[in-house]
Amino acid sequence: MVIQGVIAVLVVGGLFFAFVSAVGLYRLPDLYTRAHAASKSDTLGSILSLSAVALAFGADVATIKVVMLVVFMLITSPTAAHAIARAAHEQGIEPWTRGDDR
């Protein structure tokens, strides 16, 4: 019963942060700031939801795979955001600053 509650909280939390990253991707003015939303909120959203999955499986071999998935996302998500931001930087796309039009 307690586990069910924890799973529900984790799923809701994951959805909340996925929602935040989606809103961020729409509202933020340029791609660097959008990369913030994508790399952070989305990572946490995924991790929370995957923790719920791990709890649902309980002590099982599958849980190890979920943990591997979490570690993998933790490493790749910022790396991908960095690679994209870097590509933009090297193409000479200027970051948005206060005072520019949105």
């Binding site: 660097y32 700031t33 913030h36 952070k40 795979k65 870097r86």
Partner: protein
């Protein structure tokens, strides 16, 4: 380490560069003999400096054991110079020549060697043919070619048998690397296999892991894995991960607040700063951690400097306070590396000195 007792060095003094290679002793011996002969010819007192690529604020756990290496090299040099020359016309000195900056690539390395040599009146440099490339960038040609191209020094490659290392497949370091890669691959294979049919998994997994280790063991590790170091580093990672997790959580609530706030209170800007960590993996860890934590995103690495995009002014302050940098230094260099000036203090002291 530069004591003034050495006084003025005479022309003909030499520098020998040592790193963790199998031909270090022969190289030092050759260098010592060469300097001794030169000293006898010109009837003057010469200095042989033994240099290693060590930066002082990178603690010893990160680099090969340069203290032991220097000691061995000094022993060899002193034996070789005093063997036929009891008066000792050659002074042997040891020096960590890259004291202030980690050489990021061979070009910078050559520059550092040049400026050190000019400062100390050294006009020739003796290089170990299997001198490992410093820095994090791959390079074409040997360090000796680079030095010859870029410096005014007289470059001499020690005539030692460099075949000794590549010829034998089963060196101790190579075996350790092979076994580590094999073990990790096999473990991963069994994990993904899910222990359903263990005999089948063991047989196919062993074959696959042998293939992986055979192909990749030489490029997987930057240095030879040692069990004791691995244990302590795993322990430090275990301390670091919860800290990072806490930071990520804070980061996300800040982002959520900023993104969901009706007026979107952001003030993005781009900062450049030189991180207090060296080498590929530590720099990658710090860059990724910066990306994951409050309002900061690593955009690019230009030579030594990180280009960091920050979303809010508060995030910028946090970054320059250097808490995260200190944590990464702890993971890779141990507790002794904890006291370290924050990026802001470093920038200020640089501003004063220049």
């Amino acid at each position: 380490m530069t004591d003034e007792a050495g006084g003025e060095t005479t022309a003909g003094s030499a520098l020998v560069l040592v790193t963790d290679s199998s031909t270090v002793e022969e190289t030092v011996e050759y260098a010592a003999r060469k300097v001794r002969e030169l000293a006898a010819e010109t009837d003057s007192r010469l200095t042989l400096t033994i240099g290693t690529p060590v930066v002082e604020d990178v603690p010893q756990t990160e680099t090969p054991d340069f203290d032991a290496l220097l000691e061995t090299a000094t022993d060899v040099a002193e034996r070789a110079t005093t063997l036929t020359d009891p008066e000792g016309a050659v002074d042997v000195e040891t020096e960590r020549i890259y004291r202030y900056r980690y050489p990021f690539d061979p070009y910078e390395y050559a520059d550092v060697v040049q400026s050190y040599a000019t400062e100390h009146g050294i006009d020739s440099v003796i290089v170990d043919p299997s001198h490992a490339t410093p820095g994090t960038r791959p390079m074409t040609g040997s360090i000796a070619d680079r030095l010859a191209d870029q410096t005014t020094l007289d470059v001499d490659i020690a005539p030692v048998d460099r075949q000794t290392r590549p010829a034998s497949i089963v060196t101790r370091g190579g075996l350790a690397q092979f076994l580590s890669v094999f073990g990790i691959s096999l473990g991963f294979y069994l994990l993904v296999g899910g222990f359903a049919d263990v005999t089948f998994d063991l047989v196919t997994g062993t074959i696959a892991a042998l293939l992986v280790a055979g192909v990749l063991s030489r490029v997987t590790f930057e240095r030879t894995p040692r069990p004791t170091r691995m244990v302590s580093s795993v322990f430090r990672w275990l301390v670091y991960v919860p800290y990072l997790g806490y930071k990520i959580l804070v980061a996300n609530f800040q982002i959520a607040y900023v993104v969901l706030h009706p007026s979107l209170p952001i003030d993005p800007s781009v900062e450049r700063f030189e991180p207090g960590v060296w080498g590929g993996l530590p720099m990658a860890t710090l860059a990724n951690s910066i990306t994951l934590t409050p309002g900061t995103l690593t955009v690019d690495v230009e030579d030594r400097a990180f280009v960091v995009h920050s979303l809010t002014a508060g995030a910028r302050e946090d970054l320059l306070d250097g808490g995260l940098e200190r944590a990464v230094r702890f993971v890779f260099y141990g507790r002794s590396a904890l006291p370290y000036p924050s990026p802001r203090d470093r920038a200020e002291s640089e501003g004063e000195s220049s």
